[in-house]
Structures are given as structure tokens and as C-alpha cells.
Subunit: 366 residues, 4 copies
């Protein structure tokens, strides 16, 4: 990862600010011949789109994506397919309300990147947070939709497993439930409780954090590489680059610190064919930075939305004390819409590692 690009062979470059004309991305290195139409991407974008429930920002953005390049309607292969050249995607910003931005122009919102952008660049597009807005994640989701095409047979799903201090009961985990409630919660009981809880938070003008879990099933053993190309290191960077993320863990993560060796290491027994069966998956499907063939399990923690209706102490751009209240349209828990974003990042990382693995180790074909 560097600049505004991530990935090595499956490479994604994103651009755009919250209130500029458009945002988007260029997906470069995609294998040729994959069926791809805008609707494939739109379906993923719609899962992240704001304004779909009272628990997300009321900004109305259709997030309609256009494909500018990299696909071709080919009668020989049938339908529109990727050509192997860069795929440029653009999403126009539509609902940039005209408003008075003088507050956030002159004062730094606590918890936001206002001060740090200013300290770095001396200039910033302060409207809606500019480049630091979570709106950038739409481009990731779009790229992730393409990455999924590169990974047939691999299911990548995510869920909110903790909202504020409240965790799901894993005995009630139901993947189908995730799509039924507006909180991406896999536990129907927790989902109902969380809705009430979050309504309270929202009405108080406050916000709350969350933990999201992403699971990828179907990846074979062997993806990833030593030492600075470890699959888990790339997942960690990918997740930590998402807005408001403050922690990442793989498998049992921080809990492993309290374990003893015999509790932690996943034992093996012969399985069907070449692959062993692991008797547990504390490793989260990754050992030595390389996939084991088990489900890849990773989590990330999202801090509470920093835009709240309560008055906060800050300083102005000219260095004077000030108080600031962040009015406007905000998610009471920005972690909710982070679920499709986390899935997209996992998909992009896996697509990249799949191609990198094939490059180095291949099938020996020439």
C-alpha cells in the first residue's frame, strides 16, 4: 500500500473527496475474460449506500457507478467481459448540500483528520471531511465487487459482532440474519436489542463504536508469502486503512496472548485427499502468513463516529480556543456500513494474493 493505491497484481487506486464532483477508482491488473457489468458492482454498492435506515447518515446518494474502461462486449466469449486493461469506475456525488462550512473550515473537529490534514498540507477540502470522509469507501466496495469475480468459489461475508459494549451470542450466529436487519448483525436477538440501544444513542446525539468480523471461506492453502508479503499483514493494513478503524486481529487475535501453547496451536488429523483437517481454527486460517485452507477469520474495531451533537473543546486554525458541535448528517455507528467495506478489502487482498501466488508458484504451465 502506498499513496492512494493498494495491491500488487490486483491493484486498486481510489480518488475523490466527499463533496467534489465525483469519486472512483481504477482497478488494474484484473484477469481478462471475467463477466462484468455495472450491475454487478451496483449490487455491492447498494449494501454500503447511505440513507437506507435511520441508523445511517441521511445523505441521499444513489452511488450509481459507471464503468469507463477495461470491459468489452465480445460476441466471441459472450456478454461484457474484462479485457485485462485498467477498469476505471466513477461515482458522481449528487447530494452535496449547499451549506455554511465556516465552522469546520476554521475549527478542527476532535477525532477527525481536520487538524492532521492541515498540519501536513496547509490546505484541505473541509467540506464533509474531503478526502478523509468515509465516502471514499464506496470506491473500495466497487473494487471489491470486481475482486469477487476473480475469486470464484470463495465466499466472503461480514457481520457486526460487537456494538458499543454489546456482543453477539455466537451460539445464535446465523449468516442469513445479517441481511435481514439494518445492523448487519448475525444474531437475531442481539439485532433487536441493538436497534433499541442505537436509537437511544442516536436520539442523544451521540455515537458508538463497533467490532466487525470478516470471514472468507474457500481459499486454498498456500496464499500469502514470507515475510513482508504475509497474508495477515496485508489484511491488517487493508482493514486499518478503513476510516475510524483502530484495531485488527486474525483468528483469536488478542485473546491468544492469554492462552498457553497447548491451547492455542490448532492440531491436525488426516483429511480427505491431500489436505489435513484442523481440529480448531484459533489461527484464523493463516500460519506463517500463508493460508491454511481453513476459513480466514479477521476482525477490526471501529471507533465511535466523531461527529456528534455535543459541544466539544477544540482550537481554531489560527490557534484560538473554540467549541464545536458537528451538526449535519452522520451515522450514529459508522461501524455498520463498514461491513461491506471490510468484505471488499478482504476480497481485494485475496484476489491480489491469488494472482501473486499464481505468479510465483503457478501450475508450472508455460
Amino acid at each position: 500500500m502506498s499513496h492512494n493505491t493498494f495491491g500488487h497484481l490486483f491493484r486498486v487506486t481510489t480518488f475523490g473527496e466527499s463533496h467534489g464532483p465525483a469519486l472512483g477508482c481504477v482497478v488494474d491488473g484484473c484477469p481478462p475474460g471475467l463477466p462484468l457489468v455495472a450491475e454487478d458492482i451496483q449490487a455491492e454498492l447498494d449494501r454500503r449506500r447511505p440513507g437506507q435506515s435511520r441508523f445511517t447518515t441521511q445523505r441521499r446518494e444513489p452511488d450509481a457507478v459507471r464503468i469507463l474502461s477495461g470491459v468489452f462486449e465480445d460476441e466471441r466469449t459472450g456478454g461484457q467481459r474484462t479485457t485485462g486493461t485498467p477498469i476505471a469506475l466513477v461515482i458522481d456525488n449528487v447530494d452535496q448540500r449547499s451549506k455554511d462550512y465556516s465552522d469546520i473550515r476554521d475549527s478542527f473537529r476532535p477525532g477527525h483528520a481536520d487538524y492532521t490534514y492541515d498540519a501536513k498540507y496547509g490546505i484541505r477540502d473541509y467540506r464533509g471531511g474531503g478526502r478523509s470522509s468515509a465516502r471514499e469507501t464506496a470506491a473500495r466496495v466497487a473494487a471489491g465487487a470486481i475482486a469477487r469475480k476473480v475469486l470464484p468459489g470463495i465466499a466472503i461475508r461480514g457481520a457486526v459482532v460487537q456494538m458499543g459494549p454489546h456482543r453477539v451470542d455466537r451460539d445464535r450466529w446465523d449468516w442469513d440474519e445479517v441481511g435481514r436487519n439494518p445492523l448487519f448483525c448475525p444474531d437475531p436477538v442481539a439485532a433487536a436489542e441493538w436497534e433499541r440501544y442505537l436509537d437511544g444513542i442516536r436520539k442523544e446525539g451521540s455515537s458508538v463504536g463497533a467490532v466487525i468480523e470478516i470471514v472468507a471461506e474457500g481459499a486454498p492453502a498456500g496464499w500469502g508469502a514470507p515475510v513482508y508479503a504475509k497474508l495477515d499483514a496485508d489484511i491488517a493494513a487493508a482493514f486499518m486503512s478503513i476510516n475510524a478503524v483502530k484495531g485488527v486481529e486474525i483468528g483469536d487475535g488478542f485473546a491468544t496472548a492469554a492462552l498457553r501453547g497447548e491451547e492455542n496451536a490448532d492440531e491436525m488429523r488426516p483429511g480427505n485427499g491431500d489436505s489435513p483437517v484442523f481440529l480448531s481454527n484459533r489461527a484464523g486460517g493463516i500460519l506463517g502468513g500463508i493460508s491454511t485452507g481453513q476459513p480466514i477469520v479477521a476482525r477490526f474495531a471501529v471507533k465511535p463516529t466523531s461527529s456528534i451533537l455535543q459541544s466539544r473543546r477544540t482550537v481554531t486554525r489560527s490557534g484560538e480556543a473554540a467549541d464545536i458541535v458537528t451538526r449535519g448528517r452522520h451515522d450514529p455507528c459508522v461501524g455498520i456500513r463498514a461491513v461491506p467495506v471490510g468484505e471488499a478489502m478482504m476480497a481485494c487482498v485475496l484476489a491480489d494474493h491469488y494472482l501473486r501466488h499464481r505468479g510465483q508458484v503457478g501450475g508450472g504451465e508455460r
Copy 2:
């Protein structure tokens, strides 16, 4: 990060296996004119070196480093200095005991990378874990010693804050204590308790995990960049690439998920000169991926050493069930020696971001 290289302008490539002739690294992009002799690097290596207490592996490696290139004795500037060309460092492996490796050659040790390397490459140097051995981290520590030279005025320190289930009492935190006990523990009371605890673990032939905290003080506001060049994303990748690490967090990390917005966002008040004073540091010194000027605080979780004296179920390379006991010389808590490694990774990441910042924005001369 990719392959066996990390960093963009301050770039480190490491090589070597646990039981090969040597390991080392090439540090490329180092600014010219920095005083550098082997002793500077050796001092850091000695902090990570095995065999210094009963709590680390008894393998006897002097870890003596040689500089092969990139420095020059220059009478004009005085003393030996970096020239701006790549600095190659080599550490010979000395204590590769001849032993019978047929156990680990034919069976996959649970929790280790044996199976995944085999699944990926079809061949592996099984002696001592080969490339997946934590011995590789010596090269990181060597590179980190150079990175520190690039960062005058920035103090980078680390400590073990949790061993097994036991945490330090932060009210007793004393940086000086870290160097006084063999566990890199900043709490003298905990240090004594942990020694007894770890003796028990060791005698049982077991192992335990740990959490390490790394703090960098003195970095100015403005390092890091949107979106895939975020300082925290690079720290996350750097830490997660360390052997046995399963989780990474910045500032309050996973704990922020349970907070409310008004608890989490660090307020500001006017400070001396241009910079504001932050009234707390839950952000760990990073907002929007860019440093705030506060101390940069990050932690990582290390799983318990997988090499234990207890019999574990596994499979052989040919797919048959087997039991395996990992005899030999091992750290009962591999997290201990991870402290200088974590410091080194933080130093390398910061050196890289310092140069990248200077490249794009200029100024910031140190």
C-alpha cells in the same frame, strides 16, 4: 510491503533462514551523511539476542553484524558515515546444532508454518523453521538501528504490557524498569510476579502469549498520508508481519468499540506555538492516518510459542496421523524478545514516512 521487502523510501529487504549460513538485510534509501558503525547496530541486536536469560531460547548466537556496503570513512565529515547507497548487513549463523531433523521434516508442527510452506512451495528448509523462524527478526532489529539514526529526537521504546492473562499496572509504569528485568516489563511488581509465573510455564514445558506496547515520542504532526499510505496502516502491517503476532491496535484500539463519541474523540486546546494541546490521547497519536504530534502508541498481541514439550496431534507429509513433541531450545514466551523487534519496526515505518513526507511536502528538516 511485498515479497521480503518493506518501506518505500527507507526500504528494508531481509533474507536468510534459521539454520542457513547467514541472515541479513539490505537497507536502501538511507539518507547520506549519518554516522554509522557496526557497534551502533550491535547494541540493538544485543537487546534481542537469545540466551541472555532463562526465559529465552538457549541457542547461543553472538549475532555479530558486519556492514558490507553503504558506509565510508570520510575525513571531510569525520568518522564513518552513510553514503546514500544500499547498506548490506550480514549476521552469520553460528550455533546450528547438528541434530536429527527427521521429526519436523516429515511431520507438520501445529501452530507453525510447516504445513503452509509445504502447501505453497512443495519444498521447505525445515531446520529450525527455515525462513519462518523468528530468527529473521534479527535483520529487522539491525535495520531499525539505522532507522533510529534517521530519526534524531524521536524516542522509540517498548514494553511487555501483558504476559499470559497478567497485565501491568499502568500506575507503576517506569520506562527505566524495562531494562532492569529480563521480561521488558515496565512495572517492577509485575516483573517479579511474571518471573515466577513464567518459571512455572517453562518447567511445565508449556508457553504463553503476550501483548507488547510500542511508544514513539517526538514525531511531529503531519506524517502519514491518505488513504493507503496511512501511518497506522503501515504500522499494522509492520507489526502483523512479526512472527506469531495475531492482533494490532493503535491508541485505545479495540476498547474504542465500547466507547461513545464524546468519550473517544480527543479534545484540543491552544498550546505553545502553532500546535494545539490534546487533552487526551485515545487516538494513539494518529488521526486520519496522519500523526498528530502526540506520542504514537501501538500494541500487538503475540500468541504463545507453538514449540512446546507436550505431545500434539498432527499429520505427516504423506498424510498420516502422527503425534509430535517439539524438543529443543525455545522461548517460553516469544513475546519477550519481540519488544526490540516491535521498536525496530516502528522505527523503520517512521523513517520511511518521514522521508515520504519530506518528498511530497518538503521541509521538515530534522
Copy 3:
């Protein structure tokens, strides 16, 4: 350079096909605070734009550029300025004539990339050459306009120095003349002769090659770096990546092979201030891959346009013999419009090396 991206700190990613909806680029890593409006870019695009004389393709493309991100109207600094975030530029394709493409769909045009794209990807956008069209160079010119902003005080100019077998007389070299004739020729006598010559070529339905020289004046000594970051190596790659280029040389280039050491090496004498005066510039301003402070002089050879009205032998996609005539709108000498493209590539390479130099060594503020 890799994929569809070049540059390390000043990084350009281009996308788009000849007959798709649009082409463009993302310029990432640009320093903040530079004044930039679309008109700055448009002025450079207009120099490359087709249809401006009878010597270039009659395709009518306004090549109107839109800036989607990375700039902000800031009352504090005055006017629209770069913010340090990625600058996305889009140019819509307007004049994609509907026509029958079955000829080039089914047969490979000699000298074009039709066969190689097909061999690689198994699918290609055959309309106008798709991604292999020289239309992609519009994105380079747009990026180059931004690069020039990064390089105040550096003049980057280009000219056609050979058309077919005819060379300019360097004694008549006049940079002002380059803008006065449609052939970017610096020699007014040659310009007139070449117009007649090229009219003949055009009427015969043939084409001809050219050599372009690019000169950058004002770059200080010290840009570039050993060994795989040499300034001349990056210029060579940048030029060779331009469509139809088959050769690149620096300074006296291939002619140096016939020289003796005492003829070739540029002698020095004391100059004003710190810098020496070179008594000649056979090196083209680069020694050891690093700029000397003299003008940087490079040339590239462009092969004749492969699209000609004469019947050529080829094969069809299904492997049968065929004859093909490439009708349509083509440049009789594609080298002419390569002049602004070469200038743009030189500007991008220099901007990148300026930032890279500043990153490693600091100072050099412009």
C-alpha cells in the same frame, strides 16, 4: 513502472480505450498548494490534440479535460490549488464514429498490437486499437501539465529532429520555430521541405517515422540515484512506453559508441558559485544516472504509422491467410504529435525524481 502506473512519489495511473466512453488518469502524490485549474491542463492537451492540421488524424476530439478531485478553491491561499490528494482527470471520447469493425476484429493489422493483445488476453477491444491506441497519450500530456507545476524554473521543450530520412540542420535550430509549423520542427527550412515531403507520403497512403528530441533546462545537479533509480533509466522507460517508439538515447547516444574516451567525456572548469562549467554536453546532462546541472537531452525514435492504405498480408483470428488495408483516420507521421507526449513524460519523470531526491536528501526546495 508497472501495470498502467508510472512514477514513485509523483505517480500517474492512466486508463481508457480509444473508443470507450472516456480516458483519463489519476495523478497521485502531487505536492499541495500548487495553483491548478483545468485550463492549465487544457493548454497542453491542445498541443497534442488531433485534427489540427492535414498531417494528423482527422478524428475530431475536443479533448476537454475535467478535474474530478485533488484541488480546492481556498480563499486563504487564493484560487484553486492542489490539496495533496489524488487528482483524477477525465477526458470524454466524443468522435467514436460508428463503423464496421469486422475487418480489424477478425484480422490482425501488421505492426499493431492486435495479435499480441489477442495472444495475451484472448479478448481485445479492437475498436481503434483499444488500449493500445495512441489516444492513451492524452492522459500522459494531462499528467505532464501537472508535473510542470511541480517544476518551476525548469523548461521542458521538444522538437522533431528527423522525419523519415531527413534531419534538421542544427545550425538553424530555433525553439520559437517549433510552434510556428505543424510539424514541431525547429528548423524553418526543414519545416517547409518536410511539409512537401509529408504531403507526398500522405497522398500515397503511406507513412513515415521520426526522431524526437526533448530538452529539459534548469534541473539542478543531483537528481537520480544509483543503480536502478537512474534518471536516464527512467527516461528510457518513459519514452519507450510511448506508442510506436523503438529507440531511446541520452546525449550523444548511439554516436558515443564510435567515439574515443578523450572525445566523449565532458571536461569541466570552475564556474560561478559551487557548480563547475562543463565544456561540452555529450553526456546529455546525466552521469552515473544523476543529473549534472546541464540541460538534459534525450531522443526517441518513432516507427512509421502502421495504419496505411496499402494492402498487407496477415492472418485472421482463426488462423487463415488474409490481406488487410487499414482505412480510416490516421496520422501519416505519428511522431509529430509525440512531441508534447515526450515533453510530458520528461516532466513526469523529473517531477518524480525531484520529490524522490527531496525525500532522501532533503533540501532542494524550489
Copy 4:
């Protein structure tokens, strides 16, 4: 290419100065399972080694290479093989004559990188040119020996085709002749004439340039990629990065500028199987940056050695006028030993593109 590294999947990092303790490289990303012993590499190094005839420097360096990592003696696959981890190679410098370097310490040798290194870094290892010495190319040749292993069935050969003003007669081209004379000349008549010519140059204390041609046969169609991953762009950068190179061309190169379209574009006819037969190879085996399946033909021009026995005007480090004579051990034509270097660079570029192609397009295996 950047810093001291080139390649993307097959990645080579070199280090070392002419008179430091050692030089070498790290080859990262090599596929696993390839048979590799030091002797394989030594054989290539011996072709480049100095002191083998009166036409190369009399410095006596055995150039003995040691493999520090990345290979393993595996009884299962038989013999020593690559493991997929980084392969570190070290060559000790042996014949660093103690001498008085005050001349080149204080004065800049014309045509050398002395001044530019000093201008960039403010410090340089002046002994034998330090990092800018052609001695660095030994590391390339070592890496190239590994690259050849990645490319079974591809023959990569080189020859000197022009020495000073004298060219070979291509009608007398005999690849076997290249190994029979000390000048890597494929024309036996020219070889004899060149020996006499070069003896004269040498006795006069002068030097002369050369043109080297590298041909790779056996690469399939489809390697390379649009637009900044073109195979010819990577070859151009690879060759231009070799010491003293001032020009690069592919196929007919600069000569194509004087051709007409119908002369230049290589026609096709049906061949055996899927591939067409090209009726000529002016393109040098590359169209649109992608290999055609024909032999890949490239050339580079090497300027005359700048170290000559004639007095040259220069300036001292403190800015005073001086005269300098470069005594010592030098090649009268540095282009001769550039032949194995050019071959090695071609091999590395092709190995990298082979893996990159396999990564993106693969054989569809999973």
C-alpha cells in the same frame, strides 16, 4: 525499478561498492523447486570476470559467489533447489589494491559519476568509483544466472556488433564464434580486425565505445502488458541502467525512423498451430509492449571508458581548476564485458514478465 532494486515478481536488489568488503544481491520471488548451486552462477560470473584477456582490466578478482539463503538440499526432490524464499548472493572483493586515492578523492574525473554523486550526497566512496563502478554488474550477472533457471527453453545470447566505428558483417554472424574470441564478436573476420584495432587504442591509453546486441529466442507470444508494463520499456530501463550505456533500441530501432509504413510493419502468414509466421522481424519481437513469439532483439550503446591515460581538464572538490589523468587498471572498451551483463538483464526482465504474465492470465488453474 527504483532505488537499488528492479523487477516486480522476480525482484533483484544489489548492493556493494568497488572497494568495499563485498558486493552482492538478493533475488526475491524466485519460483520454488528450481535446481540451483553456486556453480551455476559461477559459470556466468566467469564470463564477465575481469583479467581474462589484455582487453579487460587487469584487476584480479575471482568473483567467487556464495549463496547465503533461499536454497535447500532436499532429498525428496533431489539436489539443492530453490525454496521460494529470498536468495542472497555475496561476492567478496579481493583485489582492492592499496593505493593513493587523493587524486580522485579531490578531483572529479570527467565522464564519471564523481561530480554527480558528490552533488547529490555530499559524500562518496571515491575508491574505484564506489557504487558507480561497473563492478556492480557482477551482481546482475549472478541474478541473471538464476533468471535463466526460471526460463527453461529460452536462449538468451549477446554479442558486440560494433566496436568504435567498426561494425560486424551480419552475413558472417556465427553465435559459436562469440565464445572463441575475447571480444564477444560474432564475426570471425571482424574479431581479428578488432583485436588489432583495440590493441592500438589500448597502447595509446585511450578507449572506445561499442554496441551490444542481445537476442532472446523461445519466449512465447503474450509477455508484457499495457501501458507502463511494456516489455520493451522494461528492457530499455534495464539496459540503460547498465554503466556507460547511452542508448537502447528494440528491433530495427532508430533505423525505423527512416522507413515507410509498408517497409516497417512485419507481415504475417499462417504458421504451424495457433501462431502466425512473421515474414520479417523489424519489430524485434515486441508489438504494443507485448512479445510476438519471434526472437526478442535489443541493442544498447556503450560510451568509451572515461578512465584514460590522457590528461583532462576538470575541477577539484573545492572548485579549483585541475588536470587529471586516470591511471590504474581499466578496460579499453567497457562494452566487451557488457555482453554477459546485457544477457543477464534480459534474463531478469523476461523472468519477471513471465511470472507477471502467469499471475494475471495464468492457465486458469486454481
